[in-house]
Symmetry: C2
Subunit: 116 residues, 2 copies
Amino acid sequence: MSQAFGPYVRERREAKPTKEFSLRRVAGRVGIEPSYLSKIERGEQPPPGEETIQRIAKELGEDPDVLLALAGKVSADLLKIIRERPALIAELLRAVRRTPAKRIAHAVREIRDGEW
Amino acid sequence: MSQAFGPYVRERREAKPTKEFSLRRVAGRVGIEPSYLSKIERGEQPPPGEETIQRIAKELGEDPDVLLALAGKVSADLLKIIRERPALIAELLRAVRRTPAKRIAHAVREIRDGEW
DNA sequence: CGAAACGTGTAGTATGTTCTACACACTATG
DNA sequence: CATAGTGTGTAGAACATACTACACGTTTCG
């Protein structure tokens, strides 16, 4: 669960063209110790907490949900959505487990735009 | 988050007609210390871990997802479903956030049975 | 009435999570 | 070449999570 997150972040960060994305500067803007980010990127430490991951995502222009998933986590706001109607949403999630992306996207459109 | 779980479990357990549902016996079958269950039911301790909640749910015939929600948690298998396709499922969940239950149930049926 | 079962109080413990602080050796640059 | 910046190593620490072990007084019931 934690071996994918670090290297991915490193790769994304190093893909940036400017010197503004040195490990130390990114760590500084994210608000963590450089040594901590270093260990995380090399997978020596497990991924940081959600808030820190959100800031890393913003900093690197990555999708927070994807980054959180790589860290084995799920965004707190999604958890809240589930907890508000657990039986219903659990049913929905288990229904989409093996559903092709196309079909889910179609359902999203229907839900949003109203299908009647 | 934790003040609802305990009392709800207590109420459900005490609603059982037989002596097989004494705190001690339930704790025994669930595999935890009676004093621990006692404290949980009175909200003196936070809810137990997911596995324990699952066993309590089974023992009392309750919906595990609902019990987990009362404990401020979400089932690990649902988290896995999200983590497998984070962007897509996150979009789906945020789309259903304020959608009436009826409409979600309709979408579930469509997803399951195929709407074309 | 005595033993078994009851619920609860007290006192811990093991493990995981999420970080900080600082020193070090190397590299790039003005 | 001095200095600023780089990534990393070591050593922890604060806090949360998820429990156990056992003793105590009370109630139930054969």
